[in-house]
Amino acid sequence: MSEPLLSIRGLRAKVDGEDGEILRGVDLDVQRGEVHALMGPNGSGKSTLAKVIAGHPAYEVTAGEILFEGEDVLELEPDERSRAGIFLAFQYPAEIPGVSIANFLRTAVNSRLGEGEEMDVFGFQRTLTEKMEMLRMDPGFAARYVNDGFSGGEKKRNEILQMAVLRPALGVLDETDSGLDIDALKVVASGVNRLSEADEALGVLLITHYKRILNYIRPDRVHVMMAGRIAESGGASLADKLEAEGYDWLHRAVAAV
């Protein structure tokens, strides 16, 4: 088997400057072209894992490694990880008043092109308009300030818009489905599927509480995180079982260990 797109080994992490570990030995491999769903109860560490993958400075990795395309990314700054091909769709995206989506994304696109190779304004505008159409976003959105005053659903759509424009090799989607009505969910899911079709090597780690998005984006693997560890992994049917039975049986199983 070729080297995984993302390989996490024995990852332990805590909030910088504090004691309690949040991630307590995470092991996870995502191959190119695979979709992995990550489920688990509130507070189990899913978002922390996502942010540690993206390089959030609030967390300190105390043990383990994260390899992306075979390279250790723990020493890389968040922007370097992004330019290397890691994308995080935030559970709670930041609001940036005064900065338009268009201006922000053009800067982001140009940050990965060499000096003098920057995309011209019109070329960029075309790309942006095309991706916005795909996500059924109003063209006027591009001029709005990043996430400023957006509804929950608009924020999530905006995250996927950024992923579509930036074309990462790995997308970590942290509860992109929550807060979306059923129509928006379909649009966002089909957006992600279109990206997968356009780039067959795209890997997706999809963090969710609900099975419904998995009806649209079929996972190759489903993992359950409990108290900072992957407690269970399985095929798509694991999501059905969780939906039907909740996490109690896993709590008991974890407690029994």
Partner: protein, 443 residues
């Protein structure tokens, strides 16, 4: 009011300099008289020192006035537009006219024929002193700044190299701004220029004063004054865009008078120079008048910016709103000192004053001193200031999209500035200011 004692930098600007200067001119009495009186005041007054509240954070003693060469004003010349000016104009929006001043001397002056036909006058101050001596005299008299500014103001008038005079008659609306360029070319000089803007009742005037120079290798001082007057129901938009090169120290004293129901917007942008001070006074002179005072600055290296303001409510029912925002990096420093003064008779005043500062580096420093002085009892006033840093959550969000820390910080500065830029009414002016800021901040 603080008292001023003689400071270490007591003037040695020789009296001979003034005589040479004045002797070179044959000017109308309105100007010559004002000049001689100003020189007398200048020599009589002590330099303000750091002991005075107004100059606590900007040390005039460190400016070597006596070593500078005062620029002898020579009569206006008529040169063609230079390449640097044409370049900026090519990137700016529509305009009603162009003025080029070189170290205060009017080098070029043009007004769109159509605008001229509507009755708008654009001339050198010297010509204005011939033709409208009373307007000039009155405007100068009214613009007399507070005691702490008097010394520099006197020097400004005494050494005045020239300036322009914009007069918009009753009911005439300028379709686009006058774009004036204040260019300093010679290192080691001390020069002075003035902008006069006068809008009669119901008139609309717009001006952008752009200050520029190369980086100069010796200390150079540029003095500037602006007298902006709106009669009843007039509307004025005035922008001072300061993008001098290093080596230049700049002092600008701006005085706005707003008559009954007049609306005046002033916008100061400080980007260049070693030291840049703007003293801006808005006098709400007529009931229902409205003054919007805006400013932005971005300081890096060891630049120092100083903004000193007065919102003087002399009439009831007037409104003033000040929003000044600055961002600093490296060892940049800034000071904002603002006062809302409400006279006894100025009931139902609505006055606001906000200064926000963003520090991007450990070495940068901002001081903010907002103040109120209210003698009326039925007013709505607020003042506030903040000094903060970029938010980690925003920084991480931008960096997680591939922006370097520097790019992310700078983009956040743009976002921080946008609220102020958005308040500039004229789109073309807004675009020019935005471009100049982009150039300075770099992305």
């Amino acid at each position: 009011m603080s008292t001023m004692t003689a400071g270490p930098a007591e003037s040695t600007l020789a009296a001979a300099d003034f005589d040479t200067l004045a002797g070179a001119l044959t000017e109308p009495e309105a100007l010559a008289g004002a000049r001689a009186a100003a020189w007398e005041r200048f020599t009589a007054l002590p330099w303000p020192t750091k002991k005075s509240e107004e100059w606590r954070y900007t040390d005039l003693g460190k400016v070597g006035f006596e070593a500078l060469t005062p620029v002898v004003p020579t009569p206006a010349t008529a040169e063609a537009l230079s390449a640097d000016v044409r370049e900026v104009l090519g990137r700016s929006g529509e305009r009603a006219g162009v003025v080029v001043l070189r170290e205060g001397r009017v080098a070029h002056l043009e007004l769109e024929p159509e605008v001229a036909r509507s009755g708008v006058v654009l001339s050198s101050i010297r010509d204005a002193a011939d033709r409208h001596p009373e307007v000039l005299r009155r405007a100068l008299l009214e613009a007399q700044p507070g005691p702490a500014e008097e010394k520099l103001w006197a020097l400004h008038l005494a050494l005045l190299g020239g300036g322009y005079f914009l007069y918009v008659p009753r009911g005439v609306e300028m379709p686009a701004p006058i774009h004036a360029f204040h260019i300093v070319e010679r290192a080691g000089t001390l020069s002075s220029a003035h902008s006069f803007v006068y809008a009669e009742s119901g008139a609309r005037a717009a001006v952008i004063d752009e200050f520029l120079s190369d980086d100069l290798d010796a200390e150079t001082v540029s003095l500037h004054g602006a007298t902006i007057t709106g009669e009843g129901d007039a509307g004025i938009e005035y922008v001072a865009l300061q993008r001098f090169g290093r080596g230049v120290k700049r002092f600008s004293t701006q005085h706005v008078t707003a008559g009954r129901d007049a609306r005046v917007v002033t916008f100061n942008v400080a980007l260049g120079g070693d030291l840049s001070r703007a003293d801006v006074t808005s006098r709400l002179d007529g009931p229902g008048s409205d003054s919007e005072m805006l400013a932005l600055w971005f300081g890096d290296s060891d630049q120092h910016f100083d903004h000193h303001t007065l919102q003087h409510h002399a009439a009831p029912h007037a409104h003033s709103d000040l929003l000044f925002k600055g961002a600093l990096t490296d060892a940049g420093s800034s000071v904002f000192r603002g006062l809302i003064r409400v006279d006894k008779g100025a009931q139902l005043t609505d006055a606001y004053q906000t200064n926000r500062n963003l520090l991007l580096s450990e070495g940068s420093h901002a001081s903010a001193l907002p103040n109120l002085e209210i003698e009326a009892d039925d007013v709505r006033c607020s003042h506030g200031a903040t000094i903060g840093q970029v938010e980690d959550g925003q920084l991480f969000y931008l960096m997680s999209r591939g922006l370097t820390r520097r790019q992310a910080e700078r983009l956040l500065v743009f976002g921080f500035f946008d609220e102020v830029l958005g308040r500039l009414p004229m789109e073309g002016v807004r675009a020019r200011v935005r471009e100049a800021i982009e150039e300075k901040i770099g992305l």
